[in-house]
Symmetry: D3
Subunit: 232 residues, 6 copies
């Protein structure tokens, strides 16, 4: 089974981290292919960055489709271009926000999302409203760190995230935490150990859930919304 | 007051129709500027077309911002790239779906949307869910006509739309109808006359609503979600 | 174009302020007609006041209809008697709560309402639930001032409102603020300047939105819910 | 225990039917007091009639409060003026729509409402949305009969209602039916027998539910929304 | 009229308190029959306890049905096994959570629930979501006391509950309070007096509401969801 | 990795079919353990059957926990006892309804569920409401066949299911179909081929999704709702 994990921003170090994360959880026999959305913004912080990343993301998907990929993970927590990807893909396509919050809803009755910047909070709230999980989402919080700070070795990003999770447990009475950025994937195990509750990283979960759907022989529906694009 | 009305697809005849429609309703003293998203797909029929149109749409918005535009209408019923436009715009930005369904909710307790192709139905349903108006939307129907058929003089598009509206009144018991495509704008008056109920075209309504917001001195909020894009 | 702006309470000083506000934003060629609901309570603070104001409000609407008014604004944030007004009106009818929260939802992903008394908070929450915008409304707050204190020159009402807005920005992380009383209309510009976020006054917005609907040739639907009252 | 059952329209024959219905179900020791909203419209068919009935309804409530009534039923399915009544009442106040749909939700997982005229359908849908029971309400149907036809001995109203209920069972797969007009109260037993499913009349249910609340020592909350009207 | 009030846990002292409460509010002519779910857990604190209590609860219901009971109250705030009870019952069946929150929604625009342990909070939130009353429920709070502490004479349970209610009034701005455990029934009058707002105990309210439904001749629907169990 | 797949009814032929299905999709290295809820009803058709099956189901879970199982699938579409299982389990627990509808929501914008008997329709609708996916579920349909007919070689169950799916595509305009009974698992591939849309079987999907969660190192949250049962 071949799974494409695309990083929709153009920061290669992030792609490497994402591929490592996906490989760590992938089943035996599953081949993880990474891709970086060349020409996309260096990080996706808001609607504009997201919109500008999608054409490059779609090129990655097209290329992988040509090579017969079985399923696709879009590794940015804003779930950019998912509908468009689903139109051009044959197999399942999952964004890491959708995968992570749906996983959280299976492990706990409530969860809080901890993301990077305040400007991403309403974006994520809207996604969760669309996924129908607002009633299980206690709150979307930001740790007030830019996405790329997660890539800087000396930054205090991990401490700030841990503190925000501890506040979430205390103030939101949440039972699980979802990490709201692909760049946090490498902190998952440590954060879970420190806090004692499920800490969910979308990259791992999306990789394994796409595997799950492919393993059941399921593909993206090709009638109506996700039918292949009309030829003009 | 200067208002930009962008056609996010690349079909110039559609841009002309949209500008005419906007000019027909614009108040004295309001200058309507049209723009076509060059390089975008010829019509927007689904998520892929939508995603591919947004960068060109954003260029139009950037250019208009540089010239000091006061407000912006995005003239495609899928409301593409609205969040991204709002980040780079100073004044209000409105998609024609949002404008039309919110107008409908002010004139009637329920409405039905009549759009072009079946594949657009779930896209529009999702938008309306996001706008919080699912409880007033009886149904989203398609008249089963491709977007560009609306531009062909000899097509029977207008009859099919009229028939679909008549079915909506009968079967959905809706009190108003929203036209689910910018390309239907020129049929509004005729359809309203034939059916006796409010028939709402998003291009006109969005133009006048942007005018309304600008006229009240209102601009897009610049904290959090719609703050200007971060410089990388 | 003739627009009626009715004050559903009987305080003439409030009517004057409302008319001034509406005139300040009205387009050239639009004639604003004010009316006071004679015999109604001096202010509308709760359901009882609201109910007692409606027959007088409906008389104002009837009179304006007889003179061929094109659209109507009901200038009380509890949106009293809107359905009844719509039944007897030909053109569009808008309450200032509906207009303001729908405008807010176009300029920001979230907003907080600041109203006068605590007793009005649940009334407004219920309206917003009905308009489908609960998911964008962070909170309805009261500045703990009686409606008529807004008319007293020496009161500290404006300071209390400013402070409440500042708390809303801090605690609710809202991106815009809606003023929850027609009597606050004259403070809008000042509050917006002080806070740097969109501050939305329903009187202005409703006036321009009714203009917008009339300008598009739209009228209140006359089938089902808003059909003319049955003759007994 | 003294319970007021107010008919908010001015048709005395309807008041008599309502009192009879309430008396039929009232517990021993409960005294049912009837009242007619003098000066109100002869029937309540839509928002305008409703608004015009409320001041007269409130007078009936005031008078009963002065005589120490324990609880109040407002016997019109549009639940007119309930909030206002609750402000001036000491004991519980129930509208027959709220009582009936909440009762239905206790006896079945889904119900359909059968009302008189099409124009009342959206009014009732909105009430049910406000009561939070849209997910249990299959549909609101009208039997296409004017309210006062229910008072005419020779009309075929009862047959039309029966037929509409039979269609509801067949098409809506509902498990219970709520009668959407106080004037249908006398048909309940017959309709239930004919159809074999629970047929719920709001007048009976509201009377007994008010009894229930009074019997538990419960009164309307007097903080915030239902506090007594402010003295001006 | 015969009403069964079942305690789904096996603690007899709790059954006695529940029967006393039900008897205190029951109308003249109503005979309250108590039952204890023998073999069930000593208290119901979470999903496991709840599941383990249901078969014993169903035996109590079966036995009462055989003796011709008219209506049934399930006296645990988690509303265990209600659907199953409704399938085997002829008359109405009410859980005390459903009864209490629906009663609260008739007396106030908002309420807070105060329950025993934190682990029950999400259980109750989910119930309220299912009953459609999330928009009126300000918050579900726990007083951090185990269920059986309510049975210990010397515990400070009542003080902790009072304090939690006072916090709810202050912080949640709720207008009524629902007691989230059958074991709190005896504190209702005292708590209501201390706080001045409606304090609602589910046991009393459910008893009188079942009475109300029976008194109107209403029974559980026997088509679809609550039809008698299929014989295997 | 060890995964328990429990059949909560007592029909062994169904357990065998379920185990086969789970084994067909399980990854290399995953060991599927089947269990039958001994003493439970022969099939689960409604709330009563469901309630009576849960204690036996919980025994199976307890036994598997003692042997160190990693994750659990509850293979009945009514998702019986999931909360209780989660309290006593260490790893993830998934019901097949939750797994299937969440999978469907990843592959299509809308789906219809096809179940066995009409009485199960409202049960499933309620589950989907709780999972937050009502807005993507077009309809829950029944093919009007008893659960055990699926086990009879000569029955025309598969044809009836195919016909119901074809009606769903035509009338509901759904983009995917979810099979609403564990007993339909063996028909999935055939139905998908016949209809050309994704047909989703909960047993396969739940097995692979539990694998996915376990593979990511995720376990059921042990604070609040799913904490281990309190010792009495």
């Amino acid at each position: 089974m071949n799974i494409l994990v695309v990083n929709p921003n153009s920061t290669e170090s992030m792609t490497r981290k994402i591929i490592e994360t996906a490989n760590r959880v992938a089943s035996a026999g599953v081949s993880v292919h990474g891709a970086t959305a060349k020409g996309a913004p260096a990080s996706i912080e808001g609607h504009f960055d997201e919109a500008m990343s999608v054409p490059a993301l779609l090129s990655c998907v097209r290329a992988a489709e040509d090579e017969g990929v079985d399923g696709i993970v879009v590794a940015c927590f804003d779930d950019p271009g998912i509908g468009a990807c689903r139109e051009i893909a044959t197999g399942p396509v999952l964004g890491i926000c959708e995968a992570a919050v749906k996983a959280a809803s299976m492990l706990a009755t409530s969860f809080t999302v901890v993301t990077t910047l305040p400007r991403s909070v309403p974006v994520i709230e809207r996604l969760i409203h669309g996924y129908g999980l607002s009633h299980q989402c206690r709150r979307v919080r930001s740790a007030e760190i830019p996405v790329l700070a997660l890539e800087e070795p000396g930054s205090n990003a991990r401490e700030k995230i841990l503190e925000e999770i501890q506040r979430a447990i205390e103030e939101d009475r949440c039972e699980a935490v979802v990490l709201g950025c692909a760049g946090m994937a490498d902190l998952t195990a440590w954060l879970s150990e420190e806090t004692g509750i499920p800490v969910i990283d979308g990259v791992s979960v999306a990789t394994r859930m796409v595997e799950a759907l492919v393993g059941c022989g399921l593909k993206t529906s090709k009638i109506n919304a996700y039918a292949r694009p009309n030829v003009k």
